[in-house]
């Protein structure tokens, strides 16, 4: 079910009706049932994989719990030395157990998603050694949201291991967390603690909250249908036939693609966040006006926020507390002369894992690995050169809060992100470099703009849409503590009414739906 289709909204409406009519104790069951229906409708028999992952983490969490409870019940009988020994043994054992569970669950993901990458690498080696054999690619269909629900399942069992949450005895509640239909398609990555608390409390129908949820959905539909899908038509035409277009057109198409991806992804997140709010369930924030970022570090704290948080909590922190990290730290202290380098090198070691994971998560090919490492390299260079940049800044008397400099930083970040997006969009790494070369072949941007608009004159609607969300973005940046839809809700009824009327009419008029357009599926839903 496409998230912009009328069937999806009919589905949501039916779920809402049932949700608010039945006894409040059973509301979470309605969500579970509808999530299962949604999943089975989209993945059919492949639902088995999701059920298997859920069963493994559910059982695994109880297994961890059992061992801890056994220790807790026995520790009274032991003296201090024995207790310390037993605690150490438990810790080691728990670590192995949670690792085994995580590896199993991630293993399912890796095998299904990355086996073709393995084939690609194997074939590459075959080529290097001039062996006349190539492995065949597998043709595998993935269950819905496997990259999302797998990581959420791992976070559940890891949180149990860390003692952040208790193991859930009811398997259906774990299943609801894993398969919850708003976040199964494209995330965000929620934590079990946040969602299960919300699933457990009764939700009374509140008209204002319901309306605010609808406004968020409208906003998402606007971004997705009016901007992302329209830009997508032109972008697809240019990137599918790059040799027929000029360098400036490629550059413009790259910027359009960046905006398309943002509106597609954040639009989808808005739709599902809004839908979830209709049930009174708030999912995690995933975007915070990322193009206002002044550095790539900041960008990745504002773009796909929950992925960054997940990688920080479940990859970065375990790494910096690990033995091998401490070894690197020791090595750096012993052998590096500069204090700055001693500070940067160990962290760089840990971050390598984070960015490799980031790249790999995005896709099962070398291109995506390079994508992650591209940002890693730029960030590390930035860190290493930080003292130098500070010196330059001081020499030029640029103080913090300098507006033109802030604008320069935002544009610089935007440029870096666009290069990354070009890599993301290119079919292969080779094509990426060819496109870069082509992009620098001419600077006739006026002609390039005309070329782009000629492909489909209606792309102008998307540009106007971009201006609209830019203005809204500026308002949101200036009012960081208040939600935009709360701001709208404070206005008089007639203004709110007209605002919504305007948006609905715009979506119906300028949105991409119906025949006569190329098919557009959510870009991030392939993960």
């Amino acid at each position: 079910m496409k998230l912009t289709s009328i069937y999806f909204f009919a589905f949501v409406l039916v779920v809402c009706l049932v949700y608010y009519l039945i006894p409040k104790k059973m509301q979470w069951i309605v969500l579970l049932a509808s999530s299962m229906v949604f999943f089975v409708m989209s993945s059919g028999i492949l639902t088995v994989y999701m059920l298997a992952t859920t069963a493994i983490v559910y059982g695994g969490a109880l297994w961890l719990n059992k061992h801890r409870e056994t220790f807790e019940s026995r520790k009274q009988e032991l003296d201090k030395a024995q207790r310390k020994e037993a605690k150490k043994k438990l810790k080691k054992g728990q670590k192995l157990r949670v690792a085994a569970i995580a590896v199993t669950v991630l293993g399912i993901l890796v095998v299904l998603k990355y086996c073709n990458l393995g084939v690609e690498i194997a074939n590459m080696f075959m080529g290097i050694f001039h062996l006349n054999y190539s492995f065949e690619m597998f043709s595998i269909v993935l269950p819905l949201g496997i990259s999302y629900y797998t990581l959420m399942a791992v976070s559940y069992v890891t949180d149990v291991y860390r003692g952040v949450i208790k193991a859930e005895k009811n398997p259906l509640r774990v299943l609801l967390f894993v398969s919850y239909f708003p976040h199964i398609v494209e995330g965000p990555f929620d934590r079990f603690k946040d969602l299960s608390e919300q699933f457990s409390i009764p939700h009374k129908f509140d008209y204002d909250s319901f309306c605010k949820g609808c406004i968020l959905v409208l906003f998402g539909l606007f971004k997705k249908m009016v901007i992302a899908d329209r830009l997508g038509i032109t972008v697809a035409e240019i990137f599918d036939h790059p040799s027929e277009h000029t360098g400036p057109a490629i550059v413009i198409a790259t910027v359009m693609y960046t905006i398309q991806l943002y509106c597609d992804f954040s639009g989808c997140i808005d739709i599902i966040s809004g839908v979830s709010e209709l049930f009174g369930i708030k999912v995690a924030e995933n975007f915070r006006q990322p193009f206002f970022s002044r550095s790539i570090n900041e960008f990745w704290r504002r773009w796909h926020i929950t992925l960054g948080l997940w990688l920080k909590e479940y990859v970065y922190y375990p790494v910096i507390l690990s033995g091998h990290f401490k070894a690197v730290d020791k090595f750096a202290k012993k052998h590096l002369k500069s204090n700055h380098l001693i500070n940067v090198v160990p962290a760089a070691y840990a971050l390598f894992f984070v960015w490799l994971s980031n790249g790999l998560w995005h896709g099962a090919s070398l291109k995506y690995i390079l994508y992650g490492l591209y940002y890693y390299l730029l960030m590390m260079i930035g860190e290493l050169c930080k003292p130098l940049f500070e010196k330059i800044k001081n020499k030029m008397h640029i103080k913090d809060g300098n507006k033109p400099f802030a604008l320069f930083q935002m544009l610089r970040t935007f440029l870096i992100v666009n290069i990354g997006m070009l890599l993301f969009r290119s079919a292969t790494v080779g094509e990426f470099f060819r496109l870069i070369k082509q992009a620098m072949s001419s600077f006739n941007y006026f002609g390039g703009a005309r070329e782009v608009v000629t492909i489909s004159i209606e792309v102008i609607y998307a540009f106007v849409g971009v201006v609209v969300i830019l203005m809204i973005g500026i308002v949101k940046e200036k009012n960081k503590t208040v939600l935009f839809r709360d701001l709208i809700y404070q206005k008089p009824f007639i203004l709110r009414y007209l605002f919504v009327l305007f948006f609905v009419t715009c979506i119906l008029t300028f949105g991409v739906y119906g025949p006569g357009y190329n098919a557009s599926d959510f870009v991030y839903a392939q993960f």
């Binding site: 860390r162 003692g163 952040v164 570090n297 920080k312 909590e313 970065y316 922190y317 375990p318 910096i320 507390l321 990290f325 401490k326 730290d329 204090n339 001693i342 500070n343 940067v344 160990p346 962290a347 840990a350 971050l351 860190e383």
Partner: protein
């Protein structure tokens, strides 16, 4: 407390840590410096961190950090 402030200043010179209440939230210590800080604190106080300790509340002020260190020393 002074030793702690000395360590913090070695990572971020020129900051008056004693007066800060939002060290992590305001970005004075980011994830890169936290990695280094963990190592330095573990060495200095002979403690071992868990991932559950790595929350902003424990690092937002010098007092909070001391409290955490004292807890881990036991």
């Amino acid at each position: 407390m002074d030793k702690l402030i000395e360590i913090l200043n070695s990572l971020r010179p020129g900051v008056d840590f004693a007066a800060q209440t939002k060290i992590v939230d305001d970005g004075i210590l980011d994830s890169m410096t936290i990695a280094r800080l963990i190592g330095l604190l573990e060495d200095e106080y002979d403690i071992e961190f868990e991932v559950t300790d790595l929350v902003p509340e424990n690092f937002n002020s010098v007092e909070a950090m001391m409290k955490m260190i004292e807890r881990l020393e036991d």
